[in-house]
Amino acid sequence: MSIDKNTARRVAHLARIEVADAGLEPLAAELSGILAFMEQLNEVDIEGVEPMTSVTPMALKRRADVVTDGNKRDDILANAPDAREGFFAVPKVVE
């Protein structure tokens, strides 16, 4: 499957990565190359094979439904590029 410029634009947006218009053609070519490499997987007979969804065959443990951590507002905000009055600040979202 080869990717065209419009698909590259869509993929970049899905990934939330800004790509200038001039960068879209080279990006499309690069992504097409990688996808072509993946096409090898079509040679494998996967009829009746279950997808591998857990690495080690073991049931995930459940923990008690209790609060184990918290009251760390200042720690959580300490690395924020813009924190005000105990909140993360972002550009206006709602018009």
Binding site: R16, I17, E18, V44, I46, V55, T56, N79
Partner: protein, 495 residues
Amino acid sequence: MAELNKLTIAAAREGLRKREFTAVELTEACSAAAAAAAPLNAWTVLTAESALAQAAKADAALAKGDAPAMTGIPLGIKDLFATKGVQTQAASNILAGFKPPYESTVTQNLWDNGAVMIGKLNMDEFAMGSSNETSAYGPVTSPWRREGSDTALTPGGSSGGSAAAVAADTCLAATGTDTGGSIRQPAAFVGITGVKPTYGRCSRWGVVAFASSLDQAGPMTKTVRDSAIMLGAMAGHDAKDSTSADLPVPDFEAALTGDIRGKKIGIPREYRLDGMPAEIDTLWEQGRAMLRDAGAEIVDISLPHTKFALPAYYVIAPAEASSNLARYDGVRYGHRAKIKAGEGITEMYERTRAEGFGREVQRRVMIGSYVLSAGFYDAYYLRAQKVRTLIRQDFEQAFAAGIDAILTPATPSAAFGLGEKANADPIEMYLNDVFTVTVNLAGLPGIAVPAGQSSENLPLGLQIIGRPWEEGDMMNVAYALERAVGYASKPDQWW
């Protein structure tokens, strides 16, 4: 007292207990060697002051007696591990200046065992790379050079800083992480030992996530024994990582008897690649002969889906990465791009990620977004997950047939020059992982051990793959190989 930094963990452990030197002296020697190794660009931060405080505590514990094995051992920590109050940015600009208010479980386990952190280590950005050239800090230069040349070589990746720091004797050992070969390939490139444990052996909590079903932390050390000691200190169940195994951590060091008589060592025929350099094939043959001489039985085996491991990996790893890296949006930590008047939060997200992520990371996040997107999920991601099942079954069948461990080359070549693959297709770089990536897909343990030298006098490594949870047995085979090889070469100090 000279050159304490050149000791192994085992030798330092003994010297500290015999009071031949103190943990403070050992730490000072490593911190000085690390500071003097600036041309390698292996260290991103040196924490000499807090290291001395940890070393003084270690000396006090040693004086009382009964201190854990890692007490007073100076380590380097890959930049992927969150270290409380110390810059942790996964070698990415998007995490510029990030200082975690918490400590990763693996590093906390090491400090609880008395180890000392002398600094953080360079790596490929978000552990995506095989040459350390994707790092926002710039590439690491290997301490090794080709015979009669001063061309700067890669230490491998992504744990290239860890590999270079240990090979250059600037710390006794280092932590690494391995998603497709990121411990074993750099270990092989610089002539040290690196272990990727069974998936779930070490907690992933506090390790910056790349591909969660593949990532594992492990030790990078000067000897197999050191890896056994250090892995014992890193491993263990952790309620904060639901995939960490609730299994006792065995005494790995006690497994190192060197006796491998009667062990069945599998040689997978699919690992003999077209165009593989003759010296890699020779190295592999020598490894087989050494294990046979040590009393093991060498058995030809087949792992028929091997050739599909790389394409499956390069679907699954980017898919998981695109999901894990969605959190870097310029809101909670790290870099935030400036927006112009009239622009909003979408532009802020998209520009932040364009400015903060390097090219390889962007490429993988986009591939991951594509293979997970509506209409392509079944064709790529689901298919790759099914192929992954087949790859794991290949190994399960070999082990069910009585194979104890598998011997393969660690890398398809010796270390290459920095920049040599700069204009190559991304796929060419991905081929570095061809012998290691199957192990991550199957969740198995693997170890790279130095096994010889290339024609240009660069280190070459062999890999031993073990049964799940049998790291001790696997390291014992590696130990037998290490003893047979007697690898003692060190890079000449040019830095």
